[in-house]
Symmetry: C2
Subunit: 296 residues, 2 copies
């Protein structure tokens, strides 16, 4: 398979092993689909699956898994610490290789339509698939949860993108959408003053007027006596890592504080790093096709 898409569907079942395995079975032994990981949390009463695959094959497997969830999970009986609104709660699609955000969005819409038409589940498109601004954030859609959703959907602007206009009796509603891979990026400061990291976080994050695709907060690394600006970059192609780094460095300088290091948590798309090299080396006319996958 050359085009690779990822999905990380969340289901509102973290206790019944049979149901969790029945969902996992939809992703196992399918041509063009690979179940990378899954885990269930009893307190949250929720399970999360990480699956990659060829876009169409992945789409079909997810639709099948949603069908299993709607058959087996009854939200009227569901209790858990994690907020939730659907038996299959949220299905993000993330482009991984040779695959654009537009293609991920197309698959998200096809899955949304299938859930609505074939399974009678109302679907809200969210993140980069959202059809209106107040549906970009999952938390805005999920507010009110399963119990409040029937009432919420009667209100202005809360008709679903696919499926019936009110909740599925036992399955609630589902959010489906495309998003870019998240980059978890932290910058360590040469200070033990948490308030400086917090002040910098406010300046660089989108919610306070900073970069469009940056979420940030200040945290304290107790064992290192260092304050840290801890960030999520939700679209590294638009809010580049080097720009985030230089902006934090600039704001830190205002307090006479140096940046002592940065760290990337988990996987980082090749392109995100290459963009930074391209910037600092002032590269002209560079193309990603020039990159040879030598990891030596």
């Amino acid at each position: 398979m050359s085009k690779i898409l990822e999905t990380v569907p969340n289901f509102s079942e973290g206790r019944n092993r049979e149901t969790i395995e029945a969902i996992a079975d939809c992703f196992r032994g399918q041509d063009g689909v690979k179940l990378l990981d899954y885990s269930a949390d009893k307190d949250h009463n929720r399970s999360v699956f990480t699956v990659i695959g060829e876009p169409q094959a992945l789409r079909d497997a997810v639709i099948q898994a949603a069908g299993v969830a709607l058959e087996r999970i009854d939200l009227r009986l569901h209790k858990g610490q994690h907020p939730r609104m659907g038996a299959v709660d949220v299905i993000p699609f993330i482009p991984i290789r040779d695959c654009s955000l537009e293609e991920a969005d197309q698959i998200a819409r096809e899955v949304g339509q299938a859930l609505g038409q074939q399974l009678g589940q109302p679907v809200f498109l969210y993140e980069r698939s959202a059809t209106r601004p107040n549906r970009e954030n999952l938390s805005d859609i999920r507010r009110g949860e399963f119990e409040g959703m029937a009432e919420k959907m009667k209100g202005e602007g809360w008709a679903p993108d696919f499926g019936p206009p009110t909740i599925h009796e036992s399955g609630g509603v589902t959010a489906v959408g495309a998003r870019m891979p998240l980059v978890a990026y932290n910058i360590n400061l040469g200070t033990d003053k948490l308030e400086i990291a917090q002040a910098i976080a406010r300046k660089v994050r989108h919610s306070n007027g900073g970069l469009r695709y940056v979420k940030a907060m200040g945290v304290m690394l107790e064992d290192r006596h260092q304050a840290q600006v801890s960030m999520n970059i939700t679209d590294y192609t638009q809010s580049s890592i080097y720009r985030v780094f230089e902006l934090v460095k600039m704001e830190a300088a205002r307090y006479g504080v140096a940046v002592v290091g940065s760290e990337l948590i988990g996987l980082i798309p090749l392109r995100a790093l290459v963009d930074s090299a391209e910037y600092y080396l002032q590269m002209e006319g560079f193309s990603m096709d020039q990159v040879l996958e030598t990891r030596l």
Copy 2:
């Protein structure tokens, strides 16, 4: 195939189509071997093949091709502009994926031994496989060419690494060795003074006391009215691109000249770019395993 090695063997035949195709046939339709490109030059009377493959399969194909060359090419009749010393003149092995320089060196030695023992061709190990310092550079080995080689090999320190102690009557001698992928990297200066680029080139290159794996010269980009420091980095894992870039910038500053851009010619190993991102972003605890091959 997961481990990938590259070889770029040079043969002293650029005119006889039949011979060139007979060599190419050794690389075509073989399991685990892929002929990426080949070209012949009539003036140089020389052909160059670019082949990648699984190390053992590539080794066997190259030995076979050397056999064909020794059967068909007679250097006593060979005339061409390019210096040469053997029917199969030089065979470099370059690690490309999941393959170390040590593994490339091992294959080079196996090929050298086969040429010596099976084909009666004297072999000098060169570049990173060299068994003494004066054999690292191909030009030192090739000095005297085919016509002077028999005499040269009588001298102190010119016994071959494999094969008989004097030249193959019609096939001369061959250089075989491992090397890192070359990175061709140019830095453009905000000046039209060629002598500044030349002065900087002398400061950064190995031959004049600069970085160990850097070859450099000053050239003039006539259409852009810019002088350029044009470089080959022969081991980007030791002489990193960002260090080369910063050193050139520093030397340019001494003339009040700015760096206006840089360019990478041809393929560039992923790791070479990631190293630069890692440096500038002051990354801590980063591993190449974190890199996801998303080219978006």
